[in-house]
């Protein structure tokens, strides 16, 4: 690697992958509970498994974003990280806090956890995805502030590039918007607004900036295409993502008690949200087609292209399916939402973190790319995870459509649990696809341990990482 301090990214990536495995295991447990309701009851009730599944996702993605920032910011800024020690301390703070929180979810009833963590002093618990005890939330803010400080000082003192400034904007936005999670008004309508300003403005706002900057960084490295071309694309994509994403928040206001005009505003603006994702796909393929070098890390190039395609499908297309108010009236909160959620999170955020890990891990271990055999295993893992996620999405979409037809869009709506029995087959198939996903993930991890074949040691220094500096 070019700068010693980039090495702090490594523990972040390892922790991210470890928690990712945990997330998938709890996903499988929950998928089983969809068809066998008392599976692992009372040890792991469904609501706990769900909380662990979604919280682990958010935490490991944050680990991934932080690792990505620690890796790419020194290289973009052309200087060492402001404080590698702070990065290491925050790593352990975040890991211990995250582990304790998950243990809290698993070992004591949620209400008891709220008591133990003195939630009544500043009640913030009990809301989907923001279930963390208040003290954990405070910990997240401290870690985020220290992280943004460390990254921010490095960026501002060094070479300022569009990639690093967009990343910084996204990270600051991530930290600032999380503050809404501390406001928990009694009025449920009010509460929903603030809740969406964390949840939606993260995934359909500032996280997209983080995604775009990491993708641009990897594409610059693996294609050697001029920075100016990539930067112009970034400006256009980001402007569109922010405008459509910010006003598109309105698609969450349809049925929460907000004024009716939001059904128009939310529908129209969120209908545009697929466009920046489509542009990102065109952008990624263009850059790879115009590449000036053959980067030895084929797996990383594949992940980068996969991110663009799957983000467009999952976030763009599957989001659009149910974003118009007249459609959402019937589809709201059905399995169609779950289908969208799975493919969007995988395509946009899981894959971008796997992209940067795939690109940077060999460099952090003193190679330009993994051995051909290791890459072959990794490429298998790409296809297994991606295709199984496509099938998870399709099965959940099937379940969702049948659910909507039997329970919502009919003159004789059937009760919820009766419908759940009728769509059981889809849940079984989803669980099967989930097992394949786990196999893919195990292959991904094992690719880091594959020995043999010719390893490509780093020799040149033309904008690439150099072994001589490490």
């Amino acid at each position: 690697m070019k700068y010693q301090s980039q090495a702090v990214a490594k523990p972040y990536f390892i922790a991210a992958i470890g928690l990712f495995i945990g997330q998938i295991l709890f996903g499988l447990i929950m998928g089983m509970q969809y068809v066998a309701g008392d599976f692992l009851f009372p040890e792991i009730p469904f609501n706990v498994a769900r909380m662990v599944h979604t919280n682990l996702l958010i935490v490991w993605l944050l680990f991934g974003f932080m690792g990505a920032a620690y890796f790419l910011v020194p290289e973009e800024s052309e200087r060492e990280l402001h404080s590698p020690l702070l990065a290491k301390i925050l790593f352990w703070v975040f890991l211990v806090a995250g582990a304790l929180t998950v243990l809290g979810y698993l070992l004591v009833p949620y209400a008891r956890l709220a008591e133990l963590t003195m939630n009544d002093l500043l009640p913030t618990m009990g809301r989907e995805f923001l279930e963390q005890p208040t003290i954990t939330k405070i910990g997240i803010v401290i870690v985020a502030l220290g992280f943004v400080y460390n990254i921010g000082v490095t960026i501002l003192a060094g070479r300022k590039t569009v990639v690093s400034l967009v990343l910084l904007t996204g990270l600051v936005g991530l930290a600032v918007l999380f503050l809404f999670s501390f406001y928990n008004p009694v009025n449920v309508v009010n509460d929903k607004f603030y809740w969406w300003w964390v949840v939606h403005l993260w995934v359909e706002g500032v996280w997209e900036l983080i995604l775009a900057s990491i993708l641009a960084f990897v594409l610059i490295k693996v294609t050697g295409v001029d920075r100016e071309v990539i930067e112009k694309w970034m400006y256009v994509i980001i402007a569109m993502a922010l405008i459509s994403g910010l006003i598109g928040t309105g698609h969450h206001y349809f049925w929460i008690g907000a004024p009716e005009y939001w059904q128009w505003w939310g529908s129209i603006f969120s209908a545009l949200e697929p466009i920046p994702f489509f542009m990102m796909t065109v952008f990624a393929f263009n850059m790879v087609n115009r590449r000036r070098r053959e980067h030895p890390n084929k797996a990383a190039v594949l992940w980068a292209l996969g991110t663009a395609v799957m983000a467009f499908l999952g976030a763009g297309v599957w989001g659009f399916l149910h974003t118009l108010a007249p459609v959402n009236y019937y589809t709201h909160g059905s399995q169609l939402t779950a289908a969208h959620g799975h493919m969007a999170f995988y395509g946009a955020y899981v894959m971008i973190v796997l992209t940067i890990i795939s690109y940077s891990m060999p460099i952090l271990r003193g190679q330009k790319a993994g051995s051909p055999r290791a890459q072959k295993v990794e490429i298998w893992s790409f296809w297994l995870m991606t295709l199984s996620m496509v099938f998870i999405t399709l099965f959940l979409t099937g379940a969702g459509i049948q659910q909507i037809l039997l329970q919502r869009y009919t003159d004789n709506p059937l009760p919820f649990m009766v419908v759940q029995d009728k769509i059981e087959m889809f849940y079984w198939m989803r669980e099967g696809a989930g097992v394949v996903f786990l196999v893919g993930l195990i292959l991904y991890v094992s690719a880091f341990f594959v020995k043999g074949g010719e390893r490509e040691e780093i020799t040149d220094s033309s904008g690439m990482a150099s072994a001589t500096s490490s």
């Binding site: 004024p259 009716e260 005009y261 128009w264 603006f269 545009l272 466009i275 065109v282």
Partner: protein
């Protein structure tokens, strides 16, 4: 895809005036307004009487003046582009100034119109017609402000001598955006204010 792959700035191709990136914006903007207009047509088809009734309370005279203002400002912008192609920097800056001034008068008139509606107690929730009227005109109003910012930035850069007959892409870029703002109003005004 090929045109996307080769922005004129990078390759010297010049099939669109201005920077290629602005055309992506213009396309996206027209798409939003297009969807909004379609939604308007769709909503109106279900409430023709309501739309016709409340349309007559709109201020058509000011709307017509505003239309003339924007068309005239587009003319000024065309003169600015012509001027810079002749290396007449001072003239270019002057024409851009006139265009921004026309935009400012448009914005001022629009604000008095909004103030009058506000005084009548009309909001986005009053009825579907007013929802569309306020949304569309306000959304367009924001674009006029944005266009004025762009034209001002172009004028400042021109004044500093950043543009010339050989290098006038920036002026064309700003001009293209302004024409889009004008074009949208030319559709919006008859659609919302006039057509029964």
């Amino acid at each position: 895809m090929e045109t996307v792959a080769n922005p004129p700035a990078a390759t010297g191709r010049q099939d669109l005036p201005g920077d290629f990136a602005i055309w992506i914006f213009i396309f996206a903007e027209l798409l939003v307004f297009g969807i909004f207009f379609l939604a308007y047509a769709f909503a109106r088809a279900g409430n023709v009487e309501l739309f016709n009734e409340y349309q007559q309370y709109l201020d058509r005279e000011t709307g017509a003046i505003n239309t003339l203002l924007l068309i005239t400002s587009s003319f000024f912008v065309v003169r600015a582009v012509n001027a810079i192609k002749r290396n007449a920097v001072a003239s270019c800056v002057r024409w851009l100034g006139f265009a921004v001034l026309s935009g400012a008068v448009f914005a001022g008139l629009k604000l008095t119109e909004f103030a009058a509606r506000h005084a009548d107690g009309i909001t986005l929730s009053t009825n579907t017609f007013y929802m569309f009227y306020l949304s569309l005109t306000f959304f367009h109003f924001m674009h006029v402000l944005m266009g004025m910012v762009i034209l001002t930035a172009v004028a400042v850069k021109a004044h500093r001598g950043d543009y010339s007959a050989a290098n006038h892409t920036g002026v064309e870029t700003g001009a293209s955006y302004w024409h889009m703002v004008d074009l949208v109003w030319i559709v919006l005004f008859p659609l919302v204010y006039v057509m029964h």
